[in-house]
Subunit: 471 residues, 2 copies
């Protein structure tokens, strides 16, 4: 095995690789095979399949909150779609979950100036009483300010956290801002507050508030929590800036509503040489309920289903099984990820390499891995074919999508194809997550990249993690 | 009077005018006065007053649909604001209107794929029955297609017009698209349809549908009519494109609800030489109810109130009265415009020159007039001071804002300061019409331009229309 160091030299076109690189690639793949992959990659740039799948899921199913009627429709859609695409084996695997339902959502400033606000419940929020909650607003710039606040300031009041998420290509503003969403209800309740409102975790200026999950702890009964849109948060701040008490009233009908069994929907392209070794790709099938779940995450389903289908049709059966998983309930509990790991934990070492497409449909600009360093020569092979797509190597500390967390924790090697997320958080978890936000050309570039990584990892006997680390 | 031909030579700074232009300007204004105006124009570019007024109206009143509680609050706000700004005379003039109220608004596709749509009632729409209207959708690309359709195609169905408004700097896409909104209910009813849905008249891709007024004719009972957002219209089109019948259900609670008397709020800076001659500027005080009416039309109030106030404070009392009118119910019937003309029709010839700021807060790029050609030398004076703001002369066929239509029809000379409307129809008549859509610097450039036109027309004895045409 030839050792190669990154960063790699940019190749202008993989199919036009020099004699030097051809000799290098022959350690793992035939030149014919690499040419086939390069040809398919280029074909994928104009292939409509991913867009058609995305259009199908958003048009024929739409919103598909875990446990809702849309969830069941999405599972049926996924099963039928895999079959119609000619996947070799289609399996449904149960993913039990606690169903959470949204209800009425209203908010208004009562004084000093009566105005209606747009609000949405945060995932897992408990309901307000039917008549709503009315109270004085106590304003914090950040969740950390709330955490360090004297409980006497919070007791009996509605907390409001107003910091704004920053816009970055890599979405890094999200991690810095999302703590306000995930913990405000618990922190507020622990200090005696009666309600919790946050500025939406989003980069837009639309009256479309951003929902999203909260963390709950068992020892404190959390308060009903909602997000108001960015323009509404601006309005509330402007009123608070006048220095007089601001009274807010809001009503949320959201609540847990019993148990439900959703399903991971699994489509396999069965390996010709190692059918029990899996390259795991996919998306999550559920969505929040406010939009039609186009960028979160129908596009990920379109990208990965299309990549696997194109490989089967244009290159033929892979050596290893390509497993496309449409994960259940990623958004509000990772139910599918947990169920899959539990059901397959004895076969974890057969799960060779995995990635999830769950960051919209923006152009991919980087490829990262999290694997044994000994697999770097394989990464080199992939990069030869990815660089013509404008993709750089991003190092060996990649994340891989939330649904792979349990398998990654068990040691599976993962990869990430990093998408341009500049606009992603304008629409994420809002009513605005609809098909029009997807550029078909950018989506197709995603498919081309997934074809490369999936085809190359499924057509080698080399390993990326478990086996290498055992050596 | 020196005759000058347009177009004018671009001046780099009015205060640095050449000796030639100084001698030219002396026909109408002293050099000192023109220097004062140039200085105030430049000061206005950083003056915060217009933004403060706009922030005040949107924060302290917000939505102010004619006849709603917000209408009364806005009238009280306008009266108090004029007084606090030191206007010489503040007058309320009654503007009777038919109150129209919005109610419940829901829509969903029942089949072939059940999905929720965002909808808003069009202004003046009648209500559906409480249980809503359910029917098959018949699709037309344009209102003209509907107009020429066989009634047998429409009878018993819900019409849907899907053409999309084009984006242009001058907003010219609006006139081409808005016929769908204003007449679909009548045309549908006349052909025996049961309901009318249009794609929102807007250039955005947000789930924030655009409301707006319809025309009603007496001889046909119009059907309830609503607009769905652009993404929802895309979804409906995608379903229709599958070639199977699409069944839609929608509920609108909007209805007329008795008589109401709103008010035009008038603030005068009284002329020192000709107090009974009026330069009429202003905005409309009402807004649609979905947003806080920031770009439509709080910004117009901020611009024109600030321009008059700055002239009084920095230049002093004008020769003619500067009349700032905050017009009542522009959106749903021009009630204030009609009432003002009726009340003042004997004094129309004292209304010398008028303009309304009602196209948001984008940068002004052109100045147009509609007046006697003999007044062109005055326009030349104005252009000397407007050109440094990046404003070109747009000719003598200007429109001037809807509220001046009755006075313009009676012969009053009008002007228009044309704003960059590239983004205006992303937010127009939607929940997204909020303060964040306004750039304070662009708003201030507007004030600078209004200062020039208002100060120069109020500080001359020359005429623009009636008197000149009588000569």
């Amino acid at each position: 095995m030839k050792k190669l160091l990154l960063p790699l030299v940019l190749m202008t076109a993989a199919s036009g690789a020099s004699d030097d690189s051809k000799s290098a690639t022959n350690d793992f793949y035939t030149t014919d095979f690499l040419d086939q992959v390069a040809t398919l990659r280029d074909h994928a740039l104009t292939d409509p399949l991913a867009y058609d799948i995305t259009e199908s899921l958003t048009t024929e199913v739409g919103a598909r909150l875990a446990g809702s009627p849309g969830d069941a429709k999405a599972v049926a859609w996924g099963e039928a779609k895999f079959k119609s695409l000619g996947f070799d084996r289609v399996t449904l695997e149960a993913a039990p979950l606690k169903r959470w339902v949204r209800g009425v959502e209203t908010a208004e400033i009562i004084s000093p100036f009566k105005q209606t606000l747009t609000i949405t419940a945060l995932g897992k929020s408990s309901p307000t009483p039917n008549e709503g909650i009315t109270g004085e607003v106590v304003h914090f710039n950040t969740i950390d300010e709330l955490k360090s606040a004297d409980p006497a300031l919070v007791k009996g009041k509605i907390t409001f956290i107003s910091n704004r998420m920053e816009r970055h290509k890599d979405g890094s503003g999200y991690g810095k801002a999302v703590g306000a969403r995930s913990t405000t209800a618990q922190v507020t309740a622990a200090k005696g507050g009666i309600g919790a409102i946050i500025r939406s975790i989003g980069t837009d200026n639309n009256r479309t508030p951003h929902t999203g999950a909260m963390k709950y702890e068992a020892d404190v009964a959390a308060v009903p929590a909602g997000a108001i849109s960015n323009p509404d948060a601006d309005l509330l701040v402007n009123m608070l800036n006048r220095g007089k008490p601001v009274t807010l009233k809001y009503t949320l009908g959201s609540r847990f509503d019993g148990d439900y069994v959703s399903h991971n929907v699994i489509g396999d392209i069965i390996g010709s040489e190692k059918p029990d070794e899996y390259i795991v790709i996919g998306c999550h099938l559920d969505s929040w309920d406010l939009g039609t779940g186009a960028i979160d995450d129908a596009s990920g389903c379109g990208i990965t289903m299309a990549a696997a289908k194109l490989i089967k049709d244009h290159i033929g059966q892979p050596k290893r099984t390509i497993r496309v998983v449409l994960w259940a309930n990623e958004e509000n509990g990772l139910s599918g990820a947990k169920a899959y790991h539990e059901a397959h934990k004895e076969e974890m070492k057969q799960h060779i390499f995995g990635g999830e497409s769950d960051f919209g449909a923006g152009t991919i600009y980087a490829f990262g891995t999290r694997m044994d360093e000994k697999a770097m020569p394989l990464v080199h092979e992939m990069m030869q074919l990815l660089q013509p797509l404008g993709i750089e190597y991003a190092g060996n500390e990649a994340s891989s999508g939330a649904d792979l967390i349990p398998m990654r924790a068990a040691g599976m090697a993962v990869f990430g194809l990093k998408q341009d997320g500049t606009k992603y958080f304008d629409y994420h978890h809002t009513a605005n997550d609809t098909l029009d936000k997807i550029d078909p050309k950018e989506l197709a570039q995603n498919v081309a990249a997934w074809v490369v990584v999936t085809a190359l990892s499924a057509n080698t006997s080399e390993n990326f993690g478990f086996d290498l680390s055992d050596k």
